[in-house]
Amino acid sequence: MLIKLPPNWKIPSNEVTDESVYRQRRTLLKSMGFLGAGTLLSPSAHSLDWFTKEPKVTFETQALQYEKQALGQQVLTPESKVISHNNFYEFGTAKSDPFNNSQGFKVEPWQLKVSGEVENPITLNYDDLTSMFTLEERIYRLRCVEAWSMVIPWVGFQLSSLIAKAKPLSTAQYVAFETLEDPKQMPGQANRRLGGGISYPYVEGLRIDEASNPLTLMAVGLYGKTLPPQNGAPIRLVVPWKYGFKSIKSIVGIKLLKTQPPTTWNRLAANEYGFYANVNPEVDHPRWSQASERRITTGGLLARNRIETQMFNGYGDEVAHLYKGLDLRKNY
């Protein structure tokens, strides 16, 4: 297989937007030795922020080396929206909370342990996350259970590669995932009200065949750079044919199991959130319709962005065979 590594001078085209260049200007100034001037200017810059409503990005992301994917017909959700509209209750329940409360999050050092029904348990350190596997871009639709969606260019590797490296035993039927538990860094874990009253650490799970599907991605970046904390830095799951809450963030543990593991939202409200949580326009959430969704791109209040929701979020060709003979109304 030919692995194309872009030369250092070549900027991935998705970084050549006004916004991301604009966003990196402080880093640019610093790297050019303007640190002193920058410090002097910062008070006035802050007062300007109040008027321009510019998000204060202080967490530093790094550019990644990866194989690009062609965009095709899809319209991407702008990076500014992908990184400011998040459900990550560890940092608060409002959509803007994760961005606002996570900028000081420490991702280094990090340990991701793969254990359980495996021959070869592994621990990945921070650098391994981006270097152990060849990284590739995957442009996926993300459908939230709340009936909105985005199109996001992730960077990562297939979960199947990681599982293969750990050499699963034949007894491994399920894969359980666990988010970091660190109430000092995650205010939602320290305060029940801020954290939306869910129990932590956040846990999720997949069947082994779902986890091994080529679509199932371990994402370490988006828009060509390492993940910001609000999107699940330094590593998260992306399962594009399932509702967003399955795509667990900031993972520290992956365990292969014989039996089905508990999952956070299912434990909280089993009548509303199942273990499978496949995107399905025919099975409504008890409190709202799942037949259509609002695609978040640009355009403000008047954007005509309501579209029909597709079975398996449009990934039926790749995953429908996993659910042959399963009653998806019962196994929602």
């Binding site: 929206k81 400011s84 509209h85 959509k95 709340e146 009253g197 319709s289 640009t298 403000g300 309501r306």
Partner: protein, 199 residues
């Protein structure tokens, strides 16, 4: 020149108009320009919903303040607050129709019929609409005693609003519980009246 009582009342009324309108127009302006977070639709629905509830609480606080705490001049602001509550509820409903379901009438009707919290919200809207229409002086005079009876329905509105809010949140119920508690306190000032109804 000392400010007369009338002028004082007028100034407060102007302040209420100013606050309610400026806040509302400002939110819609930001949302139209895609400057209200990543999902301006959700932001607008939250703002108008919470705003309407706040105005409902304020308008229902007036009578106890006048009756028990003798802030008699406050009675002048009751209708104005009630009308702004309706305006915010109207904005809430129309925004849901226009920006959330985007004039998919089938979906709109289905949601109102099938989802209990939407049904409760819709009933509250209809009651508030009736109260708003009958707040015109001429109609109020013609209705005589039945006006007061009709306007007691506002107590049902605050109960429906509490349930609507409680059922709409995903997991954390602290905020809806605080609003429900305030609603109960406001209703408790009317316990004699309410007791008569249920006897």
């Amino acid at each position: 020149m000392p400010i007369s009582l009338n002028q004082h009342t007028m100034m407060i009324k102007i302040a209420i108009h100013f606050l309610c309108l400026v806040l509302l127009v400002n939110q819609y302006w930001l949302a139209l320009n895609d400057d209200l977070g990543a999902d301006p639709v959700e932001a607008i629905l939250h703002f108008t919903g919470i705003g309407a509830f706040n105005l409902l609480i304020l308008s229902l606080s007036i009578s106890p303040l006048v009756r028990i705490f003798k802030f008699t001049s406050f009675i002048h602001y009751r209708r104005l607050l009630g009308l702004y509550c309706f305006l915010y509820v109207l904005a809430h409903l129309l925004s849901f129709l226009a920006f959330e379901v985007q004039f998919d009438w089938q979906l709109f009707l289905n949601e109102i019929i099938e989802r209990p919290y939407m049904t409760f919200g819709m009933i509250a809207f209809v009651i508030l609409l009736l109260l708003t229409i009958t707040s015109i002086d001429k109609i109020k005079r013609q209705m005589r005693k039945s006006w007061q009876k009709l306007h007691h329905w506002v107590y049902l509105v605050i109960v429906l609003a509490s349930i609507h809010f409680y059922m709409s949140v995903k997991s954390d119920i602290t905020e809806p519980l605080v609003y429900a508690l305030i609603s109960l306190i406001l209703l408790s000032f009317r316990w004699k009246k309410l007791f008569k109804y249920f006897r």
